[in-house]
Amino acid sequence: MGRFVRLAETDRPPVSLEIDGTMVTALAGDTVQVAILTNGFALRESEFGDGLRAGFCLMAACQDCWVWTVEGERLRGCSTEVAAGMRIVTKGSTWQIEPS
């Protein structure tokens, strides 16, 4: 269940990834944004306390769809293709300031 509704191209191979600790299924060729929003309702929290965000322009212009991975990497949701094994975090950040 998610925000985006698939209307076509649904016979692509599935891709498994983790979102907020839960394994979900997306389809090969999905963007990270589509992978998240077909499995949920938001991508991230606004830094300034004004609630959830789900991206806006889908064309790499508005920069509103950056998400974190568990590993502390940043991905722009609308322009990054989903890959099996991705571990996405949509709540808070995974930024660690201590050098590993």
């Binding site: 060729g29 300034f48 609630g51 806006f56 322009c57 889908l58 940043r74």
Partner: protein
């Protein structure tokens, strides 16, 4: 001459035709494009493994899309194509490129900017809620990913894209709860003489609108949106009808847009002169008829110069390429350039017609509540802008930015710049052109701090 480098930024219709024309002159242009595949946004390709035919993806425009894609493919090795690459800055006749986290530089003798456009946005309360996307985004979700942005979609705003996206959504099986158009039928009729410059375009618009009416999709003109309701996502839109009646439509997604605005950051970083365009109500890089800017060796083509649409972009791409070649000392037939100029003339008339028919609702800026977010990156409200205008005396947008952080976020004012300037001008009681324009600053898009310089 073959050693002269023509750098083309963007691989949409303008960039494709520019590359084709430069290659035809025997040069091997460098084509840099942010996307994984050519086509730009209008003729955006679906990812590998998707199977819908061009007719499904591009409708009436499928012939043109296929032609542009084919032209690009036919260029093959005759161009140096760099997909997934961002031009993040320009400096002393070099483009600074970024691919992943690797930075490199590309010298150029001529630079053709075919950077396209994004939706022009007028905010309203609630527009940052999950489920509100730009109108262009709604189209891309369907075209490039086979998705609708929600299960009950309202399309809001004005412009040719509005009925088109509604039509495409409905045809694809999405539920379109309503099409809410801020423009009026009267305006459309007033614009008819100018719109008649491109009868084909006019006919398509009428077709989509008629189809939507026949399909029973609520289509309301002359509305004024009031607010988007919801807590963790869109639940409804409130608006006033042309007769002043308050209405509400339940929905879980909204596609929002009022025409397009040119992407001009690179022209700014190339230090091109800008001039206020009264039709677009946007500061645009000044060009001659062929796309030459005030900076020698820098040319503009397509919607990044002014919003003329994809057909015009193809012509402008060829024309800018001719201008660049000519300036590099390569012979170009006068008749060829004259033909392109002649073909562009009705497009310019049409542009004025479009703005008459689908006016940017500048006056909504004055009506935005103080609490409405204008800059979604930095969460800066209309009230914040009014405060710096009135209390801190910001007379122009860069000063308002310095004081309020308007336009200081990740998108560098792409989404909020147009509306923010309107709010500021209204608060100051001056004309829009008097508040100036946000100065471009590198990087054009966010630059990873992990970036390393290519060896």
């Amino acid at each position: 001459m073959a050693d002269r480098t023509v750098l083309i930024v963007g691989a949409g219709p303008a960039g494709t035709r520019a590359a084709e024309r430069v290659a035809a002159a025997g040069l091997r242009p460098v084509v840099v494009d942010e996307a994984a595949a050519n086509g730009g946004q209008i003729y955006r390709r679906q990812p590998a493994g998707f199977r819908r035919p061009a007719q499904t993806l591009y409708g009436f425009e499928s012939g043109k899309a296929v032609a542009v894609h084919g032209a690009f493919a036919a260029l093959g090795d005759r161009i140096d194509y760099r997909p997934l690459t961002l031009v993040w800055h320009l400096w002393e006749s070099e483009a600074h490129l970024l691919t992943g986290t690797t930075a490199s530089r590309q010298q150029y003798d001529a630079l053709i900017l075919a950077t396209g456009a994004t939706d022009r946005i007028m905010p309203l309360p609630g527009w940052t809620l999950p489920g509100v996307f730009s109108l262009g985004a709604a189209q891309i979700a369907l075209k490039a990913q086979g998705c609708a942005i929600g299960s009950r979609v309202v399309l809001l705003g004005t412009g040719p894209l509005l009925p088109l996206v509604a039509y495409q959504y409905a045809r694809a099986g999405a539920t379109v709860a309503a099409v809410l158009d801020t423009s009026t039928l009267g305006a459309a009729i007033r614009a008819l003489p100018a719109l008649a410059a491109r009868p084909g375009m006019l006919a398509k618009g009428l077709y989509y609108t008629a189809w939507l009416l026949k399909a029973g999709i609520p289509f309301h003109r002359g509305i004024t949106p009031t607010a988007i309701e919801g807590t963790d996502g869109v639940a409804a839109i409130r608006y006033r009808t042309a007769d002043g009646i308050e209405r509400q439509v339940a929905c879980d997604a909204i596609g929002l847009g009022y025409g397009l605005r040119s992407e001009t950051q690179l022209a700014d970083l190339a230090r091109c002169d800008f001039a206020f365009d009264a039709v677009a109500r946007q500061w645009l890089p000044a060009t001659d008829a062929d796309g030459r800017t005030s900076t020698p060796g820098v040319y503009l083509a397509g919607d990044g110069a002014r919003i003329l649409g994809a057909d015009a972009a193809e012509i402008a791409g060829k024309l800018a390429a001719c201008a660049a070649l000519q300036d590099l000392g390569i012979a170009v037939p006068d008749a060829e350039m004259a033909a392109y100029r002649a073909a562009l003339a009705p497009m310019d008339r049409f542009r004025v017609g479009l703005d008459t028919a689908y006016p940017w609702p500048a006056h909504f800026a004055a009506g935005l509540p103080d609490t409405a977010v204008v800059c979604r990156c930095e969460c800066i409200t209309a009230g914040d802008i009014r405060d710096v205008a009135r209390e801190k005396g910001a007379p122009e947008v860069n000063r308002a930015k310095a004081f309020s952080r308007l336009g200081m976020g990740r998108c560098q004012g792409r989404m909020c710049g147009a509306a923010g300037a309107e709010v500021l001008a209204d608060a100051l009681g001056v004309r829009l052109e008097e508040v100036g324009r946000l100065r471009g600053q590198g990087p054009v898009k966010p630059l990873p701090l992990a970036t390393g310089i290519a060896p």
